[in-house]
């Protein structure tokens, strides 16, 4: 770095001060909060806190900045903790029972844009997208890249694209969906893989209910109103113990996608039920 020499002294000092302040400002947050392996959010927290158990943060976004890759963010008590984009390996756990929620309108809830070897776990969370009101949330969970994603005990209601939208650019991605319910969204689950990548999605004990053409839908990769929709040769979905009920169309698999059943699902009460493309054994 070269110092300005042709300036009057006063200006020079001012400039130095400016640079110093800037450096200090940049350094303080890093010095103040080293990244922890486990951080906490609370409905009455504050993102100025270090997100510790005794000084929790207010939002997922505030906490993730203070959480090391591979670490975990836990909800301490009920709250709405806001939208988040995940770019590293992380676990989010809303806790067993309390309402730990993400409420959005006009955007995605949680975007997973993680690295090609990253594992992301989302557990015990609620997503509210406000559809069919105008300007609803797009997708509750939008998986764009990453090696492995687990969705466990998730409730999703009212999204304009899809409750769960999986369209991974990673060469090989695996997604596990457990005990998860999607209601009143323009689609329940959409799995898209049109390139040479492979995306395998397992669904167990989950419900895709009342995916209707609600109005204000914004699907790009799928028609509206599907319970579960898979498209592209790289997309494989397998379902067990799950329910697809009250959708415009229950199941859809196009362009070479596989939608397999373990033979113990309920696909009923949809305007058109659609069908699985094949069956698989659970053991």
């Amino acid at each position: 770095m070269s110092f300005p020499v042709a300036r009057p002294h006063g200006l020079q000092i001012l400039s130095c001060l400016r640079q110093g302040t800037l450096a200090l400002l940049l350094a303080v947050p890093l010095l103040g909060h080293a990244q922890a392996t486990r951080t906490w959010v609370s409905g009455v927290g504050d993102d100025a806190n270090p997100c510790s158990r005794t000084a929790p943060c207010k939002t997922w976004a505030g906490a993730i900045a203070n959480t090391a890759a591979g670490g975990e963010i836990d909800a301490l008590d009920p709250g709405g903790f806001g939208a988040l984009t995940i770019t590293k390996a992380i676990t989010l756990d809303g806790g067993g029972g309390q309402v730990a929620s993400v409420l959005v309108s006009g955007t995605n809830g949680i975007v997973v844009a993680a690295g090609a070897s990253d594992t992301v776990v989302l557990r015990n969370l609620r997503f509210a997208g406000l559809a069919p009101a105008a300007g609803p949330g797009l997708s509750a969970v939008n998986f764009l890249s990453g090696a492995r994603l687990t969705l466990q005990n998730i409730n999703i209601n009212g999204f304009a694209t899809s409750g769960i939208n999986i369209n991974s650019s990673t060469a090989s991605s695996q997604v596990e969906i457990l005990n998860t319910t999607v209601t009143n969204s323009c689609a329940g689950l959409i799995v898209t893989n049109t390139g040479s990548n492979t995306t395998t999605v397992s669904v167990d004990r989950s419900r895709f209910v009342q995916g209707l053409s609600l109005g204000n839908c914004s699907n790009v990769n799928a028609p509206n109103g599907y319970g579960v929709y898979a498209t592209g040769t790289g997309a494989t979905v397998q379902m067990s113990n799950s329910v697809v009920f009250g959708n415009s169309v229950g199941l859809g698999a196009v362009s070479g996608a596989a939608l397999n059943s373990f033979g113990n699902n309920q696909v009923q009460g949809n305007t058109s039920n659609g069908s699985f493309t094949g069956s698989v054994s659970s053991n």
Binding site: G43, V44, P78, G79, G80, G96, G97, Q98, V99, S101, L103, S105, R126, A128, L130, A131, P132, A133, P136, N155, N157, G158, T181, T183, N184, R207, V209, Q210, L212, L214, V243, F245, G246, Q266, Q268, G269, T271, N273, G274, S275
Partner: protein
């Protein structure tokens, strides 16, 4: 005339003053509100200043928004005064969390929760992680009264003198999805009185003193998935179709079978466009066969839960003549009712009359049992309706005479 105008002005002024003095403060509506067992309805129902009743929180929540319960409590007004019926008038999600107890208690002779949306189709209502206790004196626990889609997840309803869950005739064609819920110690656990379709998954009805699940509308339906009805005076009673309703197929070439089949609410076939005067008397049945059903005619038998009234015929929506490009409603020729009037059998040939699917070997066919207009009697009013009509006319006369005098 001037005096009258003056009176109206005075009345308006008084009402306006009353509204200013005693009306609740106006809050901007939030997308998410909170209630707490130690909240206060004078609060904005925020996370840090929660309310104490669901009714107050609803007024401060946008349509399609969410009310969450912060901690244990009962949110029907009894913690801050008197319990009263909570009426949901707009789409909303109510989430009790998982560790909370309480939610709604019983009110003698009244319902705990009524769902009656001002605009029934404006969106769905989600009830999650809630418990309802009628203390043995409440009338209905949850009462759906508008054609609104309803989701119950992890909801426990117990101790109501009428129904734990009532779907009344106002909820025609609603979809109701129920999971991980229980309905117990009521007269009837789940009562469907209309053409709604209920899906009970991973749920239990038990110890109800009259019935576990009842569905008494021939166009309604009840589906079960891992659901148990046990220890009720009578476990189920269906006039509607249920998961037990079945259909069979024979004929076609070797290997001809259903590819998909289901009973449906008649209103879902061809957008409910049954010709005027034709009344559906049972669930519709939709099916698609696999591709081995070409050649010889295929015979379909559909078994219903109840006998159809006299004069019932089978209608279908599709090409009325072989190869017709437009679909219309017509009577299926040769359909016969058997088994005490509870089953109907008819034949259909691939790409013949009624096959809506031009693919060779595949038959697609929605049918509905109906009573056509010719066999309907002249409409008459029931004795009670006549009494009502007479009373109405009487009142009209009195009103009209008073008006003349004034």
């Amino acid at each position: 005339m001037n005096k009258r105008l003056q009176t109206w002005r005075c009345l308006a002024l008084v009402l306006g003053l009353c509204a200013l003095l005693f009306g609740s403060p106006v809050w901007a509506q939030a997308t998410r509100t909170w209630v707490s067992g130690v909240g206060n309805d004078a609060n904005p129902c925020s996370r840090t200043a929660p309310c104490i009743t669901l009714a107050s929180a609803l007024t401060k929540t946008v349509s399609g928004g969410e009310i969450d319960i912060l901690d244990p409590g009962v949110f029907d007004g009894s913690l801050s005064g008197t319990a009263s019926t909570f009426t949901i008038t707009k789409p909303v999600t109510i989430d009790g969390g998982g560790a909370q107890v309480g939610a709604m208690g019983g009110i003698s002779g009244a319902d705990s929760l009524v769902i009656n949306l001002t605009t029934p189709s404006a969106g769905g209502v989600i009830l999650r992680n809630l418990s309802f206790n009628g203390y043995g004196v409440g009338n209905n626990g949850i009462h759906l009264s508008s054609a609104t889609n309803l989701v119950l997840e992890n909801v426990d309803v117990t101790g109501y003198s009428s129904n734990c869950l009532l779907i009344d005739p106002g909820a025609a064609s609603a979809l109701i999805d129920i999971s991980n819920s229980t309905f117990s110690n009521c007269a009837v656990g789940v009562a469907n009185q209309t053409s709604a379709l209920l899906n009970l998954g991973d749920s239990t009805t038990f110890l109800n003193t009259t019935l576990g699940v009842s569905s008494n509308n021939s166009q309604g339906g009840v589906l079960f998935f891992n659901t148990v009805n046990q220890n009720n005076a009578q476990n189920t009673s269906f006039v509607s179709y249920s998961s037990g309703t079945s259909a069979s197929l024979s004929g076609g070439s070797g290997g001809c079978a259903f590819n998909s089949q289901q009973f449906v609410i008649p209103a879902t076939i061809a957008s409910g466009s049954l010709p005027s005067g034709v009344t559906a008397v049972g669930a519709g049945f939709q099916f698609t066969t696999n591709s081995n059903c070409g050649g010889t005619p295929v015979t379909i038998t559909i078994n219903y839960a109840q006998a159809f009234p006299a004069g019932t015929v089978l209608y279908k929506y599709g090409p009325a003549t072989p190869g017709a490009t437009t679909s219309t409603w017509f009577q299926v020729p040769g359909a016969s009712f058997g088994n005490g009037g509870t089953s109907v059998t008819f034949s259909i040939t691939d790409n013949g009359v009624g096959d809506s699917n031009p693919t060779v070997g595949v038959i697609t066919d929605p049918v509905v049992p109906v009573v056509p207009p010719s066999s309907l009697g002249i409409p008459t009013l029931s004795p009670w309706a006549l009494v009502c009509l007479a009373l109405g006319l009487g009142l009209l006369t009195v009103w009209s005479r008073r008006r003349t005098r004034a």
